[in-house]
């Protein structure tokens, strides 16, 4: 039996096809080598220019003006005033350093925990109901952050929250996690860790999958101790994917906003105010557009630096693959 074999498209012999087609002038126009690439790119370029290039230029320009939407006065040129005022603003520096502490703690813990759990899940191929289990494990990172923030607020609630019920059951005092200056940062950090550790598990599993089987078997035959196996075989091959994961997570943690907005709104005081939230409050509460534009430009430069690092790592692997 030959079975039901399908081809993609009816294949006519070349001469017949050429004879049947009499290219019109438009087809000939499309056939020119330089036209097609530009034409295909055009829609994306239009999107890019209208929604990125123009707004970004606007942003760059506005950074040099004093412009408040609420004052009703036209923008006034102030030169570098906004930038110097940001640099001299102790609040901004505090928020920036808080953001970096948040990023380092969150990404560090998520990476360590994620790698540990990823190694644990390495041999899970024959786990009964694996797909459901992995869905449950990976769910936190795709959930709507606002929804996660909302229901964590209920869990953290000092009176009705399930967490405080557990704490009271052990005989301790209830804690209003999100309302107290000493606990709010940790509470938000914990939610971020809950949300994003699964991502590092995913990346660890991907990294482990990229390790050649033969080398693992060789290491097993050689009876390499586990830490050497990890360092010499697994990390050697998997470090690239892990690095991409850590970078993506760093960039994402730097942007954290929805969660904060929903859980603490930067409070109490400014203990959970990360820099994205600072910008939000200065731009859309105080409507201080000139100052905010300058801060946005600074954040843009930071993100470009992150992206450049990401691309560098990406190409570094390609170069290494070519050299090998």
């Amino acid at each position: 039996m030959s079975g039901d074999v399908r081809t993609f498209a009816p294949v006519t012999s070349p001469p017949a096809a050429l004879a049947a087609r009499r290219p019109g002038s438009f087809t000939r126009f499309l056939g020119r080598r330089d036209v097609m690439p530009t034409l295909l790119l055009m829609p994306v370029l239009i999107f890019f220019i209208v929604w990125n290039v123009i707004p970004t230029l606007w942003l760059l320009g506005l950074g040099f003006y004093r412009f408040s939407l609420t004052s009703g006065r036209p923008p006034r040129w102030t030169g570098l005033y906004n930038y110097t005022s940001i640099i001299n603003d102790a609040g901004v520096w505090a928020d920036l350093s808080r953001t970096f502490v948040f990023v380092i703690l969150a990404v560090g813990i998520e990476t360590l925990l994620g790698m540990a759990l990823g190694l644990l899940f390495w041999n899970s191929q024959r786990l009964p109901g694996r797909r459901v289990a992995l869905t449950m494990l990976f769910a936190p990172m795709v959930l709507t952050p606002v929804a996660s923030g909302t229901f964590w607020r209920l869990i953290y609630d000092p009176v009705f929250g399930v967490l405080n019920s557990i704490i009271r059951a052990f005989g301790f005092q209830a804690v209003s996690f999100l309302q107290e200056a000493s606990t709010a940062f940790g509470a938000v950090l914990a939610v971020d860790i809950w949300m994003w550790t699964p991502f590092m598990v995913l990346m660890t599993l991907a990294a482990l999958a990229s390790v050649p089987k033969a080398e693992l078997e060789a290491a097993e035959i050689d009876r390499l101790p586990w830490h050497q196996r990890l360092r010499l075989v697994v990390l050697y091959h998997g470090k690239f994917i892990l690095m991409l994961g850590i970078l993506l997570r760093t960039i994402d943690a730097f942007k954290t906003m929805d969660l904060i907005y929903d859980m603490t709104y930067g409070g109490p005081g400014s203990t959970t105010q990360l820099v994205a939230m600072t910008l939000y409050r200065r731009a859309f509460e105080a409507f201080n557009m000139g100052w905010s534009s300058a801060l946005a430009v600074i954040l843009l430069l930071i993100s470009i630096a992150f992206t450049a690092t990401f691309i560098f790592v990406l190409h570094w692997r390609e170069r290494r693959a070519e050299a090998a």
């Binding site: 056939g31 999107f47 942003l59 929804a147 992150f306």
Partner: protein, 276 residues
């Protein structure tokens, strides 16, 4: 080799880990079937008679249905536009490598890496200037723009994986470029198209800040309504909120279940491929 009870213990541990991560979600799902008294009971009740009153109330509210429609409408239309446009661009980037390809790909990615409030600020000023605020086309086009970088990155990776010999064969046999793109390349990169669509959908579905700032009453989606406390009359109505969140997080969870193969590609901009 692990056999017998050791394997069982191992599997039990794995399930335990998965359950720990899912526990907060389960708690909300449970809460959504409780009455107001049960939800606020101290100590919390694990066993109770489920009620569907919260869902009945949820789906009979006009505001909710309108915002749910917005969530669906905005995400689906933005994704359709973004994926279609990005596929063409990705093909061009992959095959013709026009001057500045690397630079453009870099710029596209850095937009996605920018904190949301910095990205939306100039667009907000522009929309206020043009009067595009709170309009469906303004929202859809902006979301499409924000989904493009991700889609271009994913799709370019996939098209790079298809040998140019397919194009050459097509050219030799007299096929037009459009025919080559849509009949030869597209079927082979379908996984990429699916991954890009799913993850852009989840992104727009979950998005809150942009909708809040450049949208308005007409175009606000569920996350906006949820975080601006549209549903709280005085105190927070936890039964309503938990029914709402349970409904809203269902699509992303189902997406992870049904498209688990694409999770890795989707979470890494297509830079890491494979399955877990």
């Amino acid at each position: 080799m692990k056999t017998g009870w050791r394997q069982h213990v191992y599997h039990a541990v794995l399930w335990l880990v998965a359950l720990i991560f899912f526990a907060p979600v389960l708690w909300i799902v449970l809460s959504s079937f409780k009455t107001a008294d049960q939800i606020l009971a101290v100590p919390p009740k694990l066993i109770f008679r489920p009620t569907f009153a919260n869902y009945v109330r949820l789906f009979s509210g006009q505001g909710f249905l309108h915002q749910l429609f917005n969530s669906f409408f905005l995400s689906i239309s933005a994704v359709l536009i973004a994926v279609a446009v990005s596929f063409l661009a990705a093909f061009s980037f992959s095959r013709f490598r026009p001057a500045g390809t690397n630079f453009l790909m870099f710029l596209l990615l850095s937009i996605r890496m920018l904190p949301g409030s910095a990205a939306i600020l100039p667009v907000y000023l522009m929309y206020v200037g043009f009067g595009w605020k709170d309009s469906y086309y303004g929202m859809i086009l902006f979301y499409a723009m924000f989904s493009i970088p991700f889609s271009v990155w994913i799709l370019k990776g996939f098209i790079d994986g298809v040998s140019p010999r397919f194009d050459e064969t097509g050219v030799v046999n007299g096929a037009s470029w459009l025919r080559i793109i849509f009949r030869t390349i597209l079927p082979q990169v379908m996984p990429g198209v699916i991954a890009a669509s799913i993850f852009n959908f989840i992104f727009v579905w979950n998005e809150f800040l942009f909708d809040y700032i450049i949208g308005g009453i007409r175009t606000s989606n569920i996350p906006v309504a949820l975080s601006t406390g549209l549903y709280s009359n005085g105190g927070v109505d936890w039964t309503f909120i938990s029914a709402l969140t349970t409904t809203y997080i269902l699509p992303p969870i189902l997406a992870v279940y049904f498209f688990q193969r694409y999770l890795l590609v989707g979470m890494t901009f297509g830079t890491v491929r494979g399955e877990v």
